[in-house]
Symmetry: C2
């Protein structure tokens, strides 16, 4: 197990409905030393990429992105989420479906902060069905910038987001991939990333995101 | 002028209605080196305080808080904002009025992350009428923890939040206090913090926050 998997086993809490609570160190209270370790690891995994900007999405992605950014010596842009938008033409906007909240959210980035010269690393805390992440990718592509890679803290490997995004050809690096959880025993099964992909999600039913970039 | 005031003059944009846009370096795109300088300065100003936790509020406070936290070697807790709440008893909740959005927001922190043993530094990007900040203070006090200080990037000195909070006896340190702005000329007037307070806000009409901690 790596440092993040060890921490998840130590302090994560498995709840009914495939919920993994990591709010004591990742997304409500944040262990800054852990985020710093994550930054060093992402720097190692994306060492050969000409990254000049990190993009994340509010709220819990921001803390991770800012600490990771210190390892790359680049600025962070965070996308804003809003149910209602006032399209004033200076914004890139992607529509993103939220399965959790059963609604459509808008993901918004000011156009001036993404240009064709930008080489972007996308950072977020969680990846499940990947809808928000697909919205961020669409926004980067709309701007003419390049997605150099995607760094995720915890991927729910039994949902389809990771597979879809890897199939699109992106370098997606998740520090911990959870392939299964048992709320009764508290047991968590991590994917062994040193081996070939186990294709354990092949049987998962795809939650296809209905999303589109708005002009 | 200090480093933040210089940056505001260089890259801030004054808009009609006393709006100061700093989204190119502070609250949409974030200059991580600048945040790091802010962290060093807050550490200097709160050097004698036994701070063991930083509290902030989503979204734009999170990035600053996480970088500042590295200078104090402490974890960050961020309060969540929500218009609707599901009070399950494990949360501290303060009602906060938003003058901008003309609504009541709830500021929420899980009880397990604030205890009477905690010595808290509150960090945020902006201070204007101070309603959100008063909500955070209420939450810390509800938990029995101690507010050791408050660190703000930019205070609007012509609004009453700063004065109210200093009058309550808190050590409030704002790295830049804007006492006036001119949207036509783009000019920004900073308070000289080396002198005694100018009481320039005495004439400002107080926007008293109607807020309360919910049990």
């Amino acid at each position: 197990m790596n440092f993040l998997e060890e921490r998840i086993v130590k302090d994560g809490v498995v709840k009914e409905g495939n919920v993994l609570k990591v709010d004591s160190f990742l997304n409500h209270q944040m262990d800054i030393k852990l985020l710093d370790q994550m930054g060093a690891e992402f720097k190692r995994r994306f060492a050969d990429k000409p990254i000049n900007k990190i993009l994340t999405i509010e709220a819990s992605g921001i803390g991770i992105a800012c600490v990771v950014a210190q390892h790359f010596n680049v600025p962070v842009v965070f996308a804003k989420k809003s149910q209602s938008i006032n399209l004033d033409g200076d914004m890139y906007v992607a529509e993103v479906e939220s399965f959790t909240h059963k609604c459509i959210n808008h993901v918004i980035v000011a156009q001036k902060f993404l240009t064709p010269e930008d080489h972007v690393l996308i950072i977020d805390d969680f990846l499940a069905n990947g809808c928000a992440l697909q919205g961020l990718i669409q926004i980067v592509q709309s701007s003419g910038a390049t997605v150099e890679g995607i760094g995720i803290a915890i991927e729910k490997g039994f949902q389809s987001g990771g597979r879809i995004i890897r199939n699109l050809g992106f370098q997606l690096e998740s520090l911990a991939i959870v392939d299964g959880m048992n709320a009764e025993t508290g047991e968590i099964q991590f994917r062994d990333q040193s081996k070939t992909e186990l294709n354990s999600v092949e049987k998962a039913e795809d939650e296809i995101c209905r999303s589109a970039t708005l002009d």
